[in-house]
Symmetry: C2
Subunit: 303 residues, 2 copies
């Protein structure tokens, strides 16, 4: 697929028979960005048929073990597989120290250039796949925790066939020139790109990591194509959810609705839900398009 | 089963579609001892139907990532599952620092008593399941690396029915007294336990972790019931194996043969062997009873 998501793990805190720990791959034109790296991420990449060598960046939401214990092993496997290209690993403060100490005690250093970035809330960065990322603050209690808003690079505009026809323009090489932003002359008449091209909407992917419902997520998820939101419990356990720095399916759906996100993916599902139907039913009361994440699910955004 | 082994992962360095990273469970009367804890160990315990709460001790051979990156997540899952009982984690020097730093950066401390022991070569310890363990030095290059010899606690002796019959003794309550080591009087004649009991052989399990073939393994594996030995490659790759601190299947079989080990398990299988038949064929030239480990294989020692 040109653009989409592959969910590697979808459980909360503890892996179950069906759900592994958090890890989401953004696939874009053969390049991968990994969001969180729970234990087992590298094994699930193998199962999903995705090469760790295609990963250009890894974004970590927070340094709780279930989101980060798959990171060192993944880096080592990249090395074993012969990686030589730069890897960006970004996350909250502490990420560098975590990796440094783990490498120190396990007598290993990456043989490829590893760039570790500790991000401040609302810090922006450009990812190697061309996406713009914004790290937004979420609320997961005492630990620094970030969500990520990822915006696709500008897309080649489409030519409106209707408008082109009115101007006597037929599909052909001139189309490409107009799409590249160049004016053309047809039958002695100058046609400027803006007369016929239509901007293509950019895909916006937002991932919260672990969080209570927050206004910062509503802000960061404005106009999102997909919002992947913590939905650890159903709302009958709202108190437990909020005490532990998590959200309910209802919370997630309300945030998605307030932000105007098109698709909501319920994520970080507690082991108590063998059947995720109650989470789905609850969220659909507040938002029309809801999916519950499951392991190795592909969400195709452009085929 | 009363006594046996369950192989959780059996690959070398990198997980494959069929093989996970190292982890072996010694099952003894409902209590578990885990040998190494590669990434994914906790997920494979779930698949094997073994509760992490039944683990009484974890023995780590060396601090390379593929043998230890599953440890922090397993400890956290034990806590999530409500563990309150003491856990012994033993391994080479550096183990304590590794856990301390990982806990520090991921903002977590075990809510149950965790006893971390850094062992010197040939150090002995008594495991919570009653086994005697000896940590023997192996040769894996620059890092401190240990193998483990585990000896079953003394077994209740068996009564020789033949000898008992000759003394006019029939199966019944007196048998139990003799098995407990108490003399009895039958028809006015004193019978001492040593006249009728036969000691039962104790099971000895030896695991090398990663190592070149070494004399210390031959010494530690004397009379072993099972020797689980590094067998990363076949002998056409002996040079690579030894350079990287590993053994070939041939090396493993020769060590097993020299030590007089009954069963040899080839372990730590390189990803290049989709079909482990060549490893098996090679080892069988030097040792009569060879098994290639595979994930979730149970090796029953007493049903």
């Amino acid at each position: 697929m040109e653009l989409g998501l592959v969910f590697l793990g979808s459980s909360a805190a503890v892996p179950t028979r069906n759900r592994g720990l958090p890890g989401i791959v953004v696939v874009y034109r053969g390049s991968l960005v990994l969001l969180d790296a729970g234990e087992g991420t590298q094994a699930r990449l193998v199962l999903a048929g995705l090469s760790p060598l295609k990963i250009a960046a890894i974004l970590i939401t927070h340094l709780h073990g279930d989101h980060v214990f798959g990171l060192p092993g993944l880096l080592q496997s990249m090395a074993m597989l012969g990686r030589r290209s730069l890897l960006l690993v970004a996350g909250p403060r502490g990420l560098y120290g975590f990796l440094r100490e783990v490498f120190r005690y396990t007598a290993w250093l990456p043989p490829f250039p590893l760039y570790v970035a500790e991000l401040a809330p609302w810090e922006k960065l450009r990812l190697p796949n061309g996406f713009k990322a914004i790290a937004f603050p979420v609320d997961h209690g005492a630990v620094p925790a970030l969500g990520y808003r990822l915006v696709e690079p500008p897309r080649r505009p489409r030519i409106s066939l209707e408008k082109a026809k009115k101007l006597g323009l037929r599909p052909g090489p001139l189309f490409s020139r107009l799409q590249r932003g160049e004016p053309v002359v047809v039958d002695g008449r100058l046609i400027r790109p803006e007369e016929v091209v239509e901007e293509q909407p950019r895909t916006i992917i937002v991932y919260t990591g672990d969080t209570r419902p927050t206004g910062s997520t509503v802000e960061a998820a404005r106009g999102a194509t997909v919002l992947i939101h913590d939905a650890t419990f159903t709302s009958n356990m709202a108190r437990e959810a909020h005490e532990q720095g998590h959200s309910t399916a209802r919370d997630a759906a309300i945030v998605a609705s307030q932000a105007g996100a098109k698709i909501l993916v319920l994520y970080h599902i507690s082991a108590r839900y063998d059947d995720p139907e109650p989470l789905l039913r609850e969220a659909r009361t507040y938002h029309p398009r809801v999916v519950v994440a499951e392991d190795l699910l592909s969400l195709v955004l452009r085929p």
